[in-house]
Amino acid sequence: MSHGWTREQMAARAAHDIPDGAYVNLGIGIPELVTQFVPEGREFIYHTENGMLGMGPPPTEDERDLDLMNAGKKYVTELPGAVYFHHADSFSMIRGGHIDVCVLGTMQVAENGDIANWSTGAPDAIPAVGGAMDLVQGVEKIYVITQHTTKTGEPKLVGRCSYPLTGAGVVSRIFTDLAVVDVTPDGFQVVELAPGVDFDEVQQKTGAPIRPPA
């Protein structure tokens, strides 16, 4: 019997909650898999911070243009209808509230919607924020895809983030390997449990109070 969701299933579950016609910005890592699971009959238009709407999949060797990269500095392609623009326009789309959904990975999410995904705050860490702080403040729906716990079993859904914040009170919904969890004014609320997962396990692996599915 299966237990929980794989990375691909987490991405598919997140894609399920993105409406047709949405302008979507995807973070690096599991969020990138969302493009593979667009539900039948829907179209998402992908935004990349470095100045493009209508981003397509990685190129073949022949298709590759050395100037055409995504925000993760990977080579990409343009889809029909794609458009390029400079950085101030790109971040006006983000900060002006024009991007509908942003899907991010994270180190921690707190029960009040705080997110920490840019720095461990370690003394020798080189701080590198990129566009994360702009995205979490400017995009209306901030979705997070993450394993429910760290590799060593520590909760990633916590009462208060111990790492430096990317933004305060900004996360809407979290897709983990165990459950879909909403951030509500009353804290974490399980929306859906993954196959083979019971609520007690989710509660035990969450670092803050969490309410069972209604």
Binding site: N50, M52, D65, L66, N70, K73, I126, M133
Partner: protein
């Protein structure tokens, strides 16, 4: 007749003095003005403050300028790179300063400088360590931080096509910060892959109007950082 054409990259950067603030276009390797950066290494100006989204790749272009000890301070949003150890090693050794700016704030600070706007308010970074020491103000019930414009003495820019008036087009995501930096620098120096006669760029297709550009030097078949790195090249 106005003609902003400059005969060589060496002459184009020859008056950049020690201590200058220099904006460098490009996002990672995309749109990076590698030939102008290498000319600046040859020129040797030191004690520079450099503004770019990143800190360069491998040991070429911006990374080579940093590695050559010419940069006192970097202002950027993402100083880490999977392809370069140059900046991290100098930073950890305390030999280079760093100002980290959220990417959208960096873009808007540059745009504001070009537009003559000394400061603006943004919600980006509210509630984070990057808000420390910044003035904040509430508008319509939400907290915003005040951010200052960001100007430069020089901008080094790569474009696809230019004319002698400095009208520019770019290639795909190679555009990124470059049009903003053209506006924000006192002297904007552009390397163009193609230099065409006046009137040969459709006015509707021009991205950066020549009023924002001071010098254009043609660099046909420009090198690309990713190719140089794949070939194991370094510039010193």
């Amino acid at each position: 007749m106005i003609n902003k054409q400059c005969p060589s990259v060496a002459e184009a950067v020859a008056d950049i003095p020690d201590g200058a603030t220099v904006m460098v276009g490009g996002f990672g390797a995309s749109g990076s003005p590698v030939e102008l950066l290498h000319a600046l290494i040859d020129h040797g100006a030191r004690d520079l403050t450099v503004i770019n989204n990143n800190t360069g790749n491998g040991e070429v272009g911006l990374a080579a300028l940093i590695g050559n000890g010419q940069v006192r301070k970097m202002i950027c949003s993402f100083p880490r790179s999977s392809q370069s150890k140059v900046f991290p090693e100098l930073y950890r050794a305390g030999r280079i300063e760093l100002e980290v700016v959220p990417q959208g704030t960096l873009a808007e600070r540059i745009r504001a400088a070009g537009a003559g706007i000394p400061a603006f308010y943004t919600p980006t970074a509210v509630g984070t360590v990057l808000a420390e020491g910044k003035e904040s103000r509430e508008f319509d019930g939400r907290e915003y931080l005040m951010e200052r414009w960001l100007k430069a003495d020089f901008a080094l820019i790569k474009c696809e096509t230019a004319d002698p008036l400095g009208n520019l087009t770019f290639n795909k995501t190679g555009r990124n910060f470059s049009p903003l930096m053209c506006m924000a620098a006192t002297t904007t120096i552009v390397q163009a892959t193609h230099l065409v006669a006046r009137g040969n760029i459709n006015p509707e297709h021009i991205v950066t109007p020549g009023i924002f550009v001071d010098r254009v030097v043609e660099v046909p078949d420009p090198v690309h950082e990713d190719i140089l790195i794949a070939e194991g090249r370094r510039y010193a």
